[in-house]
Amino acid sequence: MVDGNRRAVTLRVNGEQTMLLVEPRTLLVHALRDELELTGTKVGCDTSQCGACTVLVDGKAFKSCTLLAVRLEGADVTTIEGLAQDGSLHPIQEAFAEHHGLQCGFCTPGMIMATVDLLARDPDPGDEEIRRGLAGNLCRCTGYQGILASVRAAALAIREPA
């Protein structure tokens, strides 16, 4: 117990060992945004519907608005900030930019993190698998067709690097 009701939680965030000081009620999305200033992860609906807050925990996609940070001792968290390597965008980021996978961009970090989970399970998904894999992510701009194209292109780029 530190500083009244705050507790120390040690975890990895984007590959770096990190210590958070959080109240037990603190949601992971607020810890990431407010404590670590990783504001790529968005608060959208705040009711587990929209997926804008999606991050990876131990390699799987989770809605960080529905996780208590205090429970993540020892976890390995990846946010949208952790995808680009050495200044080069991740192939999924490249594909979203190239294939109009976004307009306003608010849902994009969550879409991309959910796509990481999807392509880890299924490197060559059909449109039905993509729709099902991204069912937990809402976009209010694109009509989703650009997102489907982006995910298909990303899958190809990862399977067959140029």
Binding site: R25, T26, G51, K60, R71, G136
Partner: protein, 273 residues
């Protein structure tokens, strides 16, 4: 939305966890995907959360002629079990129907059942497969048949100082098949009507969800299947509630999902004959 302030403990043993629950304001948390939204809305305001994540309750194994699944196993864990673990098809169907991938990565089988949502997908499959639920308290262990577990909306037989620790699912027999079919509300993903049907050489077992005050076993429908009589008439004897007031619509959906699940279960049974 931010939950009200609370304390947090993560006990390392079942005995410690049960002792923590002696406090009537303490609440157990498993995957948290029903509870955390309620904390954020402050519909639930426990003074203390008892985290069940370190009790070794996650995973599945076949022992003693049954599939035993730890209560902290997630829907995704269940779906990722390989062919060496014989999960009844209806349970796989139900797990795949829950929420979206982020929810299935986090939500747990036991946590969802203990939450007691009247529109739980998974509950229908647990009832239809004839599962038994293992419940631990400081005074010992009891086993409750899945169709006796639910009492009403968000109400189960669990007492304050009890924890659901394990699901015991009979292994599918030769000639047996099962399936779950649901009409989902397109916005919430919760079933407006869901039916899990198990066809076995001795008869039929039917679990319904989304229709009544709690998930239930529909014996009238099972009898109609066994005798070949009218399923719609049998469904008229199921106590349907509808939050939008349209009971007839729900009954029609129920008839469709029951018939589709029956056909799918029969087709699977034939491949296992």
């Amino acid at each position: 939305m931010i939950p009200a302030a609370l304390e947090y403990v993560r006990p390392g043993s079942l005995a410690e966890a049960l002792a923590e629950l002696a406090d009537p304001d303490a609440k157990a948390i498993a995957g948290g995907h029903s509870l955390v939204p309620m904390l954020k809305l402050r519909l639930a305001r426990p003074s203390r959360l008892v985290d069940l994540g370190s009790l070794g309750l996650r995973g599945a194994a076949v022992t003693g002629g049954a599939l035993r699944i730890g209560a902290l196993t997630t829907y995704d864990d269940l779906l990722l079990l390989g062919p060496e673990t014989p999960v009844p098809d209806a349970l796989r169907d139900c797990a795949a129907a829950v929420g979206d991938v982020q929810i299935r990565n986090a939500g747990t089988l036991g946590g969802g059942l203990a939450h007691g949502d009247p529109a739980s997908d998974f509950a229908a499959g647990v009832i239809a497969t004839g599962a038994t639920l293992v419940i631990c308290s400081p005074s010992g262990t009891r086993e409750v048949a899945a169709d006796q577990f639910f009492l009403g909306p968000f109400t189960t037989v669990l007492e304050q100082q009890e924890l659901l620790t394990e699901l015991v699912v009979p292994l599918p027999a030769a000639g047996e098949g099962s399936a779950y079919v649901a009409f989902e509300d397109p916005a919430s993903g919760y079933p407006l009507a869901g039916a899990a049907v198990r066809v076995h050489p001795g008869g039929f077992v039917v679990g319904l969800t989304g229709l009544a005050a709690h998930p239930l076993r529909a014996r009238s429908v099972e009898e109609a299947m066994a005798t070949g009589s009218d399923l719609d008439a049998a469904l008229d004897r199921v106590p349907v509630l509808a939050d939008d007031g349209d009971v007839d619509y729900r009954r029609r959906l129920a008839a469709v999902v029951v018939k589709r699940a029956l056909a799918a279960a029969r087709a699977r049974a034939e491949t296992r004959a």
